[in-house]
């Protein structure tokens, strides 16, 4: 019986995060599909993601999109124009914006139908010859 409770206890320990931590982990996990950097440099203009840098040391905020490994934006087209020379991984944080930017956004991470939604743009993945881990293939759009 003791063993049983120990197993429950360890399962219990697996999960304990603040909202900022969870958002940061999701962004870090997405970024690690495309980059091997230990510390991921993130540029964002969406206030929803401003707090993700508080506790997670493995992602770092940059103020210039040209320095970023991954960009989280509400306005992909403007960002694309600003960061023309940089091979930036752009993730949109609005569904409408993503649909308009399907030719260059790598994906989207946004709230839809009341739940957080992750989409990875199949067209761009094929174009850029990026290998997607099996666990992420269900997010291909």
């Amino acid at each position: 019986m003791k063993k049983i409770f120990l197993i429950i206890f360890f399962i219990t320990l697996l999960f304990a995060d603040s909202i900022e931590d969870v958002k940061a982990k999701i962004v870090k996990n997405i970024a690690h599909i495309f980059t091997k950097c230990k510390v991921v440099k993130v540029y964002t203009d969406d206030p929803y993601f401003f707090d993700i840098f508080q506790s997670n040391t493995k992602i770092k905020r940059v103020n210039d999109c040209k320095d970023a490994d991954i960009i989280l934006t509400k306005n992909s087209k403007d960002i694309k124009n600003i960061c023309k020379k940089r091979k930036a991984y752009i993730f949109s944080t609005r569904y409408n914006d993503y649909k308009k930017s399907i030719n260059f956004d790598l994906g989207a991470f946004f709230w839809q139908k009341g739940r957080p939604t992750l989409l990875i743009n199949r067209y761009m993945i094929n174009k850029m010859h990026i290998h997607i881990p099996d666990s992420y293939k269900k997010f291909l759009d």
Binding site: F15, Q112, K113, R115, P116, F139
Partner: protein
């Protein structure tokens, strides 16, 4: 013990097969649920149904949630409307359950409570629901209620979609709905329309067919920009009134009421300066008809034989409510002070009322109630572990015509202690409730009384202990309530009781999160009543509880729920099993199957009708407010 624990462990371990990203997304959905922005822990004892819960339950109406609230049971009155405190021939308890949609209180001016109309409506435009038990904060509504249900509409920023859904099931019931919600150039909108054919098992009695079928079309729209929100709600309903009011339960045709409802409101909310204000208006027109093969009713008249027997009745009832509200939050050192001023104007008009060929008019002239209300609430944070909350509500009711004016006071003191994983909440409440306009009107106009019933007074003491970790929370609740001057109908008029009605309530709850995709919820409760107004059977006991399990296995979402209840005076125990299986075919298409009350074993209702001429009771065979039903449906987003 092993038989219970081992399957749970195997399930928990098996669920680790869900990938990290799935769990992270589910974790975010739960922890960043909009209820975290709206719920008010200091307001009372709270149970939240998050967006994720409602999605997985696929609930069709509030009916399914009301049945899970401790200490009460879901009931429908003799006309088939939601009324958990229904007692034959007794006035509806106007402060029993109050329902809000965002900041709008659902009100039916004549009956006092909007739950009857909205209790069985579709909820696909609702994001999450908070249920506050035990007379919550007076800052919610204009008068306190034992249970407050707050439904929050979907937030366009969290939707960004268009959805169409259909479902069909038992007794040819079906529902179709469509909604669109998005943000365009800083303007956010939500538009929802549903068409609902809600059919139930018909009962054949005395050669008559009794039906509770309801056909409802409902439109809701909301537009927000900056601090301003404008919303409207239009509903059109055709409802069969079940038993109706005939003396011998023998309607010749199905009693029926057609309702047209309109609501519009403007809301201003500024988080920075703490000001909230709103103005809203609602109007409804109900057309009711019923008849009887023998006698439908008896109408008192001033000349011998002092009553008039009628066989059919028709009337139109128009009701209007206008609300205005202003509140401001002051933050002074460790105090959060909320001051509010509210005004409400209610009126009703009975038109074209006919009992057989006799035209009935409102000779009393009573048809308006104006309420002015002041509320104050202070939350004083003594230190990081101790919070003191004090609130006060003063209502002045101005009734027109000969009906007397009322004043009603309610106040509440609460203490919340929080340290580490442990929290305790304790509240003491005193409140006064006045009779509904329907009671005031009928008492004078129909029962020819020269005075009005007294206010009902209630004292409630309660305490709850909660232990919460990231994985689970467990709580124990005790409540003690004393009511005095309970309103009742003695056969010839509305009066109030002389003695106390005492309730002792115990509840325990346990919620366990396996991993955000899978969770377990358990509740058990018992209530003891001592109604000193009763000559016999003054002490009685009810008990019950539920267990709910939410699981995600691959592309399937599973919701299983079992409600158990034992109710004093009801011969059958309730074993109400509900289940929903949702198949996520793709990101855009969801299919589901849902069953309510699979064992067809819910509590019986013992409906009856009294014939005052012969002093006989006609009992309807035991029937249930919650019947067995099965639905299949799909939802598609585009």
């Amino acid at each position: 013990m092993k038989n219970i624990i081992l399957p749970i462990i195997f399930l928990a371990v098996a669920l680790q097969a869900n990938t990290d990203i799935d769990i992270l997304l589910a974790n975010l959905a739960q922890n960043d649920d909009l209820s975290n922005q709206t719920k008010k822990e200091s307001a009372g004892y709270l149970k939240v149904y998050t967006r994720s819960d409602l999605d997985r339950m696929k609930i069709r109406s509030l009916k399914e949630l009301i049945e899970q609230i401790p200490f009460i049971r879901y009931r429908e009155n003799r006309t088939g409307y939601t009324d958990p405190f229904y007692t034959p021939y007794q006035p509806s308890l106007s402060n029993g359950i109050k329902v809000f949609i965002d900041d709008r209180e659902l009100i039916a001016p004549f009956n006092g409570n909007g739950l009857q109309l909205f209790g069985q409506m579709g909820l696909e435009f609702i994001d999450h629901i908070e249920i506050y038990m035990g007379i919550p904060s007076q800052s919610f509504g204009l008068s306190p209620a034992t249970i407050t249900i707050k439904c929050y509409t979907k937030k366009p920023e969290r939707e960004q979609t268009n959805v169409v859904g259909i479902s069909a099931g038992s007794y040819n019931s079906n529902r179709e709905y469509i909604y669109s919600a998005n943000v365009l150039s800083g303007l956010s909108y939500l538009i929802y329309f549903s068409k609902d054919d809600n059919n139930f098992k018909k009962i054949h009695f005395n050669g008559s067919t009794l039906s509770k079928n309801k056909h409802i079309k409902n439109f809701y729209g909301k537009i927000s920009k900056g601090n301003l929100t404008f919303d409207i709600n239009i509903a059109k309903a055709k409802m069969d009134n079940f038993m109706g009011n005939s003396f011998n339960i023998d309607p010749a045709n199905t009693p029926r009421v057609d309702v047209n409802y309109f609501y519009g409101g403007i809301y201003y909310s500024n988080e920075e300066n703490g000001i909230k204000s709103s103005i809203n208006y609602s109007t409804s027109l109900a057309k009711a008809f019923e008849d009887s093969k023998t006698i439908l009713g008896l109408y008192p008249i001033p000349t011998p034989p002092y009553y008039f027997l009628y066989h059919n009745a028709f009337y139109k009832l128009k009701e209007n409510v206008a609300n205005i509200k202003l509140s401001k939050i002051f933050k002074i050192k460790n105090n959060k002070l909320i001051l509010g001023l509210r005004g409400r104007l209610k009126d009703f008009k009975v038109k074209d009322a006919k009992l057989d060929n006799l035209t009935i008019s409102n000779t009393l002239g009573y048809n308006k109630e104006a309420i002015l209300s002041f509320s104050g609430e202070d939350n004083y944070l003594i230190n990081q572990s101790n919070l003191l909350t004090i609130s006060l509500l003063l209502n002045k009711y101005n009734e027109n015509s000969v009906v007397k004016n009322y004043d009603a006071l309610s106040s509440r003191v609460g203490y919340i202690y929080h340290a580490g994983n442990f929290t305790s909440k304790s509240f003491a409440f005193y409140g006064e409730t006045i009779p509904s306009m329907k009671v005031l009107y009928r008492n004078r106009a129909i029962y020819h009384q020269n005075s009005d019933p007294k206010k009902t007074k209630e004292i409630a003491l309660s305490t709850k202990f909660i232990y919460k970790t990231d994985k689970f929370d467990a709580s124990l609740l005790y409540g003690h309530t004393i009511t005095k001057h309970d309103l009742y109908f003695d056969g010839s008029k509305y009066v109030t009781t002389k003695h106390q009605n005492i309730h002792d309530l115990f509840s325990c709850r346990y919620n366990y999160n396996f991993n955000y995709l899978n969770k377990l919820s358990f509740n058990a409760w018992v209530s003891f009543a001592n109604n000193k107004n009763l000559q016999v059977n003054r002490r009685y006991k009810n008990y019950g509880g539920y267990i709910s399990l939410f699981n995600k296995i691959g592309k399937f979402n599973l919701y299983n729920n079992l409600v158990y209840k034992k109710w004093d005076g009801v011969s059958r125990k309730e074993w109400n099993f509900n289940s929903t299986i949702t198949y996520l075919y793709s990101r855009n298409l969801t299919l589901f199957a849902k069953v309510n009350n699979l064992f067809d074993h819910s509590l019986y209702d013992n409906y009856y009708s009294i014939n005052p001429l012969t002093n006989t009771k006609t009992y309807l065979s035991p029937t249930e407010s919650i019947g067995r039903s099965l639905f299949l449906g799909l939802e598609y987003q585009f």
